[in-house]
Amino acid sequence: MADVFECDPAKIQPDSTPDTLEAWDSLRLLDLILAIEQRAHIEISPDRLEEMMSVPAILRVIEESKGS
């Protein structure tokens, strides 16, 4: 996440959200998704973008996208 948002990894906390992390906006979230997809060999459905607004939610969507 720190790579995509170009920030200090320590700034990213489990409770980080678009409102607490200056660099987190919708387009950079898309970069994050693409980076995750490549590493985890998954494809996340565009319909799930809306939920991915916190670190736990992102982790949940990744888990649920495995094997789909």
């Binding site: 959200t17 678009p18 409102d19 906006d25 919708s26 387009l27 898309l30 970069d31 565009p46 973008l49």
Partner: protein
């Protein structure tokens, strides 16, 4: 901002943050750095948008939030594939234009975005501050695809405006523009005509020569935008100015023609036989121009041509 008040802009922001608290930072970014004169113009824009939304502002703001979500899905496709999802008018017509429920929400959301997206508010400012002041007195004005009628109403209300007309290929769009004009008190002051810019039934000539022609967020919906510009050029009066507002790297449900950078816009305009007099770029909210270009984020391109 000092003592100057922006009641309609404040109200719009309050409704948005009440319904969508996570969007607050986006709104702050979107208006950051505007001076007093710009903010006064954006307050005027917000006043028009709130008037068009009327009692239904909450509904319009919900449609705006939904629209932002749809745009994100398109952006994901664009990032993955490097192109827009659709490429023909037939596809856009089948998936978007002929889908009444989708269109209603889409148009409501886009109306709100005119104030809240930096690239949209910048277009309104450029239109008022760079384009209209170039026109002679009195001027004859034509707009293609006026949609919400926000630019059209500003031109028609301008003290130097002698004649205002608008063309659109869609009967439904013209109905919406007519209703919008009536809401802001311009009923009957603007002539609205069903015309396809690719094949206007009006012959060019003194009766159809305009000092100012505006075409805002239309070219990216066309399969052959350069030909549309070539056709329009014939309707410019001697010394007349064409204002083009076209987005670059702007994935959306009904965008079919991808322009990747400023050079492609310049080439399209020049190859249509027009000369670029001015060109400005307005990146989307939250991006500097350099960063938007690097990330292929949306940048609106404003061109004055003759």
């Amino acid at each position: 901002m000092g003592a100057t008040s922006h009641p309609q802009l404040d109200r719009l922001q309050e409704v948005v943050t009440a319904l969508w608290p996570d969007h607050a930072r986006f709104l702050r970014n979107s208006l950051a750095g505007y001076g007093a004169e710009d903010l006064a113009a954006i307050e005027d824009l917000a006043r028009r948008v709130c008037a068009l939304a009327g009692e239904d502002l909450d509904t319009f703001v919900r449609s705006y939030r939904w629209l932002c979500g749809e745009m994100n899905k398109e952006a994901l496709h664009f990032k993955r594939r490097g192109e827009y999802r659709l490429s023909t008018f037939a596809e856009a017509n089948a998936q978007v234009y002929s889908n009444g429920a989708f269109m209603r929400r889409y148009m409501e959301g886009l109306l709100v975005s005119q104030v809240l997206w930096r690239n949209h508010s910048a277009a309104f400012l450029y239109f008022r501050q760079a384009f209209l002041p170039r026109l002679p007195q009195p001027f004859r004005y034509l707009e293609i695809g006026p949609g919400h009628g926000l630019f059209l109403s500003v031109a028609a209300e301008h003290p130097a405006c002698g004649l205002a007309e608008a063309w659109d290929v869609s009967e439904e769009s013209l109905r919406q523009t007519a209703a919008a004009l009536a809401t802001v008190g311009l009923h009957g002051r603007v002539r609205l005509e069903l015309q396809d810019i690719h094949a206007p039934t009006r012959p060019p000539g003194p009766a159809a020569a305009y000092d100012g022609i505006a075409i805002c967020e239309v070219l990216e919906h066309l399969e052959r935008p350069r030909e549309a510009l070539q056709s329009l050029r014939r309707f410019l009066a001697p010394g007349g100015t064409l204002f083009i507002n076209v987005p670059i790297n702007s994935p959306a449900p009904d965008h079919i023609y991808l322009l990747r950078d400023e050079a492609e816009v310049r080439e399209m305009v020049t190859r249509a036989g027009l000369e670029v007099v001015d060109l400005q770029l307005a990146p989307m909210t939250g991006y500097s121009l350099a960063e938007a270009q690097r990330q292929k984020a949306t940048v609106n391109c404003f061109v004055l041509a003759r």
